[in-house]
Structures are given as structure tokens and as C-alpha cells.
Symmetry: C2
Subunit: 217 residues, 2 copies
DNA sequence: TAAAAAATTTAGACTTATCTAAAATATGAA
DNA sequence: TTCATATTTTAGATAAGTCTAAATTTTTTA
């Protein structure tokens, strides 16, 4: 089995690998709030275990074995987040840190039964897809709200920023997962956006917020 | 906060302290499958943190602060065991090792909400009392089945041996928590016991099994 | 294309938790 | 009460994961 630190590195490399073919030491260090030298040490260890492809100075990619472990951890993370929100009534901005601990509970059978207990949910509270017990999941085409044009509509389906303040703000504005929105105006001056939520509420959000809200068309 | 190792030591000292006023280094070492020298190191650390009362060569007791932490961990352990059995349909012999990991999930609010979600259960799947959110719980007077006499009856309310083989055996014999039993015979030769479960089933168990089954009168 | 700058790795140290072997202390049997 | 034995502690080592500072390699820029 793998240590907690190893699991966190693998998960981190997986997430960073979504945006780039290869992942650099410094990216990992920044993401894990650690130092580049610590990362190098761990990369050697993970390479020895054949969980990453690593050549000095050249960055890393996950091997299939490493990716499988990473996806397993992400599956657990998202299922526990779903559990915390749906069963224990936490808010979507409260669950990430708890899930960071729970994702390391090792039992495979536990997570599979948890999945079944909750009815095999497809998405976590933040709209991210939950891998099934074989590690398979679909990543639907989502685009930032900021790329929509006036009169275009879509459904809020994800967030790019998972921090508490952002999620709390969205909730207060009723900008939650599943809501249908229609762009009513885009202010040229600051690229802020006016939009209608479902059929009634009309609100106005900054460019930054629009950039971090993901929409399914 | 305390490390995983510290939490395990505190819990261990608490459990050993149920049977003796003071707990010895060797007892802890045996219980944690570690060496006496490792225990001594940790005892110094816990004493520095004022979680135990420790004088060299004299054994240890928990301070109120240490006991509070220990009870908190036991509360989490038992609530998670209850969850695993009642919500995820695990058998009572399968849940201990998973709970050993889950008891270290740190959030106090999580465990309190879990408690509420399950309706504030009073006992875990093995009959052990679950402390409430203030750490309070009752330990009912339980006696080994081996101390009963012929025609005496009682309710199975706990086990002294929590290992999988013993629990599986009990389940197969329908000797599960809550069942009412009546002693029908005690064999002098080997101190084995014949008994009736509820009103129908008549079975015969060894002295050893009778010793590890706890009864409420 | 050769410095300069940035990124990465290495060297050496620290912390936590563990171990073995040796020393110190306590206990209990004669 | 003394000495043999059991218990406990200390001394010194190891492994995982981290750090700072220095060295190395890559990348950028002039
Ligand atoms: Mn999360
Ligand atoms: Mn999430
Ligand atoms: Mn248990
Ligand atoms: Mn139990």
C-alpha cells in the first residue's frame, strides 16, 4: 500500500496533468505547499514504485498504475463530499477539508458500498464527476460563463475555484449547480455579466466570477 | 492537534485503564504490538503535553485532558462501526479495522452530525456504549455468561473478544446482541454450557465462549 | 550563442516514530 | 535482606518526509 504522502502526490500530479501533458516539480511544490526539493525526493520514490514516469529535470507523468491510484482517491474524495452534503447536511463549501482526510480511508469495499448506499451519484457537490468503481467517468464539455454571449443560456455545472468564500458567494446569489442561466448583458467596460437565473432572478457578476463558473450548454 | 500515534496511545491507555488503576509500559507495548522502548519515548511526549501522569518506572494514568481525547476517539470508532453495519450493511466482524482508520478523522462537527444522522445510537454493533458528544456514557453491569447458573436467564449485551472468528461463530450460532438466553445445563466436566436462545433454539457452547459472552441480567 | 535567470536536484540536517542492545531500576523468592 | 529476574529506561540507529542552502541543469534573453 501507499502512504498518505504518496497518495497526495499522485492525486496532485493527476489534477495538474489535466491541464498539461507533463507536470513540473515546481507546479507540484506550489500545489502541495511544499518545497521543490521535497518534491524531487518523492518523485524518485514514486518512480521507483513505477507509479510515475520521471527523468531528472524533465517533469513527470503518471503511469497507468499511478493514474489508477489517483482516480481511486479522487473517487473516494468526491463520494465522501457527496455523503457529507447529502446525508449529513453540510454546505458545499464546508466539505473539502474533511474529504481530504476521508479520501485516505483504505477499504475499497467501503467506498463501493458507500457509492451504492447513496445510489451511485454521478457528480459531487461541486459538479465534478465521480469515477465509478472501475475508475471510469465522463468529463462533460464545460465552458466558463465568461465565454457566453448575450442571450445565450446554459446550466451551471461546475466551478473552477473550490474555496469557501467563492462557494459561499455563489450560494448567496443562488448560482448553484443545476441552475439554468441566461446572459442578459455583458458590460464592455469591465467584462462583468448580467444574467437571469432560471426564469426570475436577475443578477450581476464580475468577470472573475464569470470566469470561475462552468456552464453546460 | 495530536498525531495518529498519540491518539492510538491515548486510546490504548484508556482501554487498559478500565481494568487497572495504573497502566504499565509493557501492557501498552503488548497491546500496540510495539516495543517497550518505543512506549517510553511516547510516554515522555504525552507527559510533556500533559495528557498523561507519568513518573519513570511507575506506570501511567490519563489526565482529564487525555481522557477526554481518548473518549472522543472511542466515540468516533463506535459511531463509524455503527454506520458501517447499519447503513452500509457490513457484518459486525468486518468493521473494526475500518473504524480504526476512521476514528482519526478529525472533524468534531462531522462526528456529531453522523451521530444525529443515525439517531444517536447508544451502543455499537458489539454492544459497547457510544459516548455522547459530551463524552458521557453508561457502562451497564455486564457479567460473563460463564458466571450464570442453571435456569438463570439474561440478554446478550456484549463480547469480550472482538476478533473476527469469534464474532462469526457467534453469528452462526445466533448468539447476537439483544438475544435473550436461558441456561439449561452446565457440564461439570469441562464447564461447557447448554442454553436456550429466545424461546426455541437450544445450543451448547464451550467454557471459553461462555467466558467471552457478556450478559445483562 | 554566451551569460543571466529560472528550475531542478543534491547535500546535509531535522522531526516523528520506530527498533535493538545495553544500562538502570524494581520486584519477589530464598 | 539480598540477589536473581523482570521491567523499564537510555543510547544509538533507521526510515519517511520535510527543510535550507548550495550545486547543477535547463531555459531565456540579449
Ligand atoms: Mn474537494
Ligand atoms: Mn468536490
Ligand atoms: Mn472496534
Ligand atoms: Mn466495537
Amino acid at each position: 500500500m501507499n502512504t498518505l504522502a504518496e497518495e497526495n502526490y499522485l492525486k496532485c500530479i493527476y489534477h495538474l496533468g489535466m491541464n498539461a501533458a507533463i507536470v513540473s516539480t515546481n507546479q507540484i511544490a506550489a500545489s502541495l505547499n511544499t518545497k521543490a526539493s521535497s518534491v524531487t525526493d518523492m518523485l524518485k520514490k514514486l518512480a521507483d514504485k513505477a507509479l510515475i514516469n520521471y527523468t531528472r529535470y524533465q517533469g513527470v507523468t503518471l503511469t497507468p498504475a499511478g493514474e489508477k491510484i489517483a482516480i481511486g482517491i479522487i473517487r473516494k474524495h468526491r463520494l465522501w463530499e457527496y455523503f457529507l452534503v447529502e446525508k449529513l447536511n453540510f454546505k458545499w463549501d464546508q466539505v473539502h477539508d474533511m474529504a481530504e482526510e476521508m479520501e485516505h480511508i483504505s477499504s475499497q469495499e467501503l467506498v463501493d458500498r458507500l457509492d451504492e448506499f447513496m445510489g451511485f451519484p454521478k457528480h459531487d457537490p461541486h459538479g465534478d464527476p465521480i469515477p465509478d468503481c472501475n475508475g471510469r467517468f465522463k468529463t462533460p464539455e464545460l465552458i466558463p460563463l465568461s465565454t457566453l454571449v448575450v442571450n445565450q443560456c446554459g446550466v451551471i455545472s461546475g466551478v473552477r475555484d473550490h474555496t469557501s468564500p467563492f462557494l459561499q458567494y455563489l450560494e448567496k446569489q443562488q448560482l448553484t449547480i443545476g441552475k439554468k442561466i441566461t446572459i442578459t448583458d455583458i458590460i464592455e467596460y469591465d467584462h462583468s455579466v448580467a444574467l437571469k437565473i432560471e426564469t426570475d432572478k436577475e443578477i450581476h457578476i464580475s468577470r472573475e466570477v464569470a470566469n470561475n463558473l462552468l456552464i453546460a450548454l
